[in-house]
């Protein structure tokens, strides 16, 4: 069965064609303003280069930064009505209080704080106030607002109120787009509500963009399901992505790291992606990127999304080398002007690439133009680049034990030999399209983060019910039930209280339903 992975970036659109675990072809094309055209061209090109027919494709998986860019740049966002179910609690910090002013001005469609919500133990804070919800709906309708974010206190303990409120909104505002916080975020009211509002503001764009992807594959006569990749490197169906576009936000680096894992067969390793300007270093744990412990800030809005823990700094093939009082490499770079600016290409700037060429690690340009660079400078330059990577690596590693390193990106020629703290260094084929490959191989996940009271149930029972909910979500998203496995469980007792409440986060992953 053939799978096509596509990564739609700001500059390039990559496509990869895989049969099972075999990469048949990868292509890189320029991203176009017209999404349908660019994606269509990339898919057509990758099929053609492998000589495969559209009819044999079983799935198209697309990773895109489109929604992230929209949120960061404040484009194509729609106004959102915010419904918070909280009773009297939380009124000291109303919705969007920590948003940057310019984004709030674009998105804020008015908030209603109404009776509802539950406590950590599931008991009601106040019964749901249906009349107040209907009144808020009437107000939003009158002002032309049709995307509603609903967020209940402790929705992750009990989501019933959010679901009931959604039913009332749907009935009062036919056709409204409704985003529910318990499907979007984790424990922490403000960041979860923020993520839900961001999602709601992207709903119209979600329908348009996913629609454009659909028409691109329809025009190519690809009669197969369409998926989008999400923050954790797993897939969501196109229908789900239309409703939850916010889950695509951090899929870019995730897809690259997943691709690197696939290309090397390693599940626990450091991924070092050296480009022209920056080096991005992340950790693969059990085949997935390790995530940051704190939530992601998107366009200045604090969310509690789990995003890959990637350390990025200014070292790349185009990094400018200065040998003054002390030797410095970067953080500034000649960037995409490397073919004109670097000494080895006849330019006037000493770059990291020149050091690599002078040392013999890379062959490009004209080495004779580098005759004046002393072996001593070359040796110091290489050692300095290596030790800067080693320092970051050491900071990122899960423990002091040596781990394998996967080097990807055009700048990986800057590194020679084993890095300190690593057991091996791998530079796989197709590394330039690791992101599209990561999209093509993605699986399906289900995730739940909840605070559970152990009143009347055992810890094992609580865990079981959280895992069952995560599994139900994976199946809903398209996973084959028989393939689902539990990949992550996190239990945190609540500090400063001798009570018996516990926070449980669980995540399951399964293969795509054939």
């Amino acid at each position: 069965m053939l799978r096509i992975g596509v990564d739609v970036g700001g500059t390039n659109t990559d496509a990869a064609l895989l049969r099972g675990a075999e990469v048949l072809a990868t292509v890189k094309t320029a991203t176009t303003a017209d999404v349908t055209g660019g994606v269509g061209a990339a898919i057509r090109s990758v099929l053609a280069s492998a000589g495969e027919a559209a009819g044999d494709v079983a799935g198209v998986m697309i990773g895109t930064t489109h929604f992230l860019n929209a949120a960061v740049e404040g484009r194509h966002l729609e106004r959102v009505g915010v419904l918070r179910l909280c009773g009297s609690s939380s009124r000291s910090l109303p919705p969007m209080i920590d948003w940057p002013d310019h984004l709030r001005a674009l998105v804020d469609g008015g908030a209603a704080l109404v009776d509802g919500g539950v406590n950590y133990d599931g008991s009601e804070i106040a019964p749901l106030d249906a009349d107040a919800i209907r009144a808020a709906c009437a107000d939003w309708t009158a002002r032309g607002i049709s995307s509603i974010a609903i967020c209940s206190v402790f929705a992750l303990v009990d989501a019933t109120m959010e679901n009931d409120a959604a039913a009332i909104v749907a009935e009062t505002m036919p056709g409204a787009a409704i985003s529910l916080s318990h499907r979007v975020g984790r424990t922490g009211l403000l960041p979860r509500e923020n993520a839900t509002i961001l999602n709601a503001s992207l709903r119209r764009l979600g329908v348009e963009t996913v629609g454009a992807f659909r028409s691109a594959i329809a025009e190519l006569n690809l009669n197969c399901p369409l998926y989008l990749t999400q923050n954790d490197g797993t897939l969501m169906s196109a229908d789900f992505a239309e409703r939850y576009p916010v889950f695509t936000m951090a899929s870019g680096p995730t897809n690259s790291m997943r691709g690197a894992a696939f290309l090397t067969g390693l599940s626990d390793a450091a991924v070092i992606d050296i480009g022209g300007t920056t080096t991005d270093i992340g950790m693969l744990v059990a085949g997935f990127p390790r995530t940051r412990s704190e939530g992601a800030s998107i366009g200045g809005v604090l969310t509690n999304f789990r995003v890959p823990d990637v350390f990025s700094y200014g070292l790349g093939g185009g990094s400018i080398v200065r040998n003054e009082e002390e030797l410095t490499i970067g953080p500034d770079s000649v960037g995409f002007h490397l073919p004109q600016k670097a000494l080895c290409f006849g330019g006037d700037t000493l770059t990291a690439t020149d050091i690599a060429v002078a040392s013999g690690l890379a062959e490009m340009g004209d080495k004779s133009k580098l005759a004046h660079i002393t072996p001593e400078l070359v040796a110091r330059g290489l050692a300095q680049m290596k030790s800067s990577i080693e320092a970051v690596l050491d900071r990122m590693k899960p423990s002091a034990d040596p781990i394998p390193a996967i080097l990807v990106g055009g700048g990986s020629v800057l590194v020679d030999g084993l890095l300190e703290g690593t057991s091996s260094s791998l530079k796989p084929d197709h590394f330039g399209s690791a992101n599209a490959i990561g999209a093509a191989i993605a699986q399906i996940s289900g995730e739940v983060d909840s605070v559970v009271s152990l009143e009347g149930i055992t810890r094992a029972q609580a865990l079981e019910s959280v895992v069952a909910e995560a599994t139900a979500r994976a199946v809903e998203a398209g996973a084959a039930p028989a393939t689902i496995t539990l990949v992550e469980v996190e239990e945190t007792p609540l500090a400063y209280l001798p009570g018996n409440a516990i926070r449980i986060a669980a995540k399951v992953i399964g293969d795509l339903q054939a």
Binding site: S92, Y120, V153, L497
Partner: protein, 373 residues
Amino acid sequence: MTYWTLTEADLDRIALGCGILGTGGGGSTYHGLLRAKALLREGKRIRMVRPADMEPDARILGIGGIGAPTVGIEKIAEGGEGVRLLKAVEQHLGRKVDALLGDEVGGGNGIAPMLTAAMVDLPVVDADGMGRAFPEVQMTSFFIHGQDVKPAALADSDGNVLIVTEATSPKMLEKLLRAGTIAMGCSALMTTAPMTGDFVRRFGIPHTTSQAWTLGDAVINARAAKADPVEAIMAASGGIRLMRGKVTDIGRQVMAGFNRGTLTVAGLDHDQGRTVTVDIQNEYLIAFEGEQALTMVPDLICIVDSETGRAIGTEELRYGLRIDILSIPAPVLLRSEIALASVGPRAFGYDLDFIPTGISADAPPVAHYDIAS
């Protein structure tokens, strides 16, 4: 009376400093800072007053949050909890309260009294009972020196108010308040018994909001000047660096609601080859090098990010973090024989006599008091 009227820039500095004085605990300052700034934008004011400027018979009420931070970030405060506490206590006493203060300057509780004060336009006394963060209600210089247990009170966001009219000991009061907090959904605002101006002047740890401001200001200025924020913290606090290093291990266990564990840090730069471990019970308690204790409670062990100077809480620790372990002398009041019985190493279950690190010196008030009207 001279007041220091806080600006948003002051609040940023105070929040940073309260984080550092939190010694790893005390909860986040994020919500409090957002709320305090919102109140200023509504036209409310937050006025600080030096303890020496309080009338001897003034009534001062200590206010702070109690409960699980995990609950507090989800069921956020309603906003009027402090006002309800104040009213309940005033009614019980039959007289007005003249000023508020925080029992605990460390973490989010360093900002908590300002929120209520802004709403009712009462001044906040620039003093507290810990000079840092501690896990239990009775661990204040106030209770150590005989603060009355009654009346103490709790209020929650739903409108419940609980007044404790008698307790057999401060430790029993802690138990009662903790139980009440659980009934209120594991997050509440609390007050201990009102104190007189004279009592606070004698037994309050002076100018700890000023100290937090000074620490935060040092960090912000160092960052702006691209200087070392950790050096700035040491210069501003009279503290020393125990070690610069990298987190290599965190052993964690939660027992009876307390986050216990041991942090292991391997030395870097000048400290290459050294290993320091720090025992944790919600806060950083004792730093050891081998068998030898370098700094022990109640002296402050503050862990900050080596690059930014930002305080690292016990829940944020993970392998690879580059940190500086700082030791700041405890306030004078916490080092006395009688104080050590409540907040010294033995109070936390260690068979160790307290050995001080550095010389205690109470923080001076910020210069703003003299400039202000």
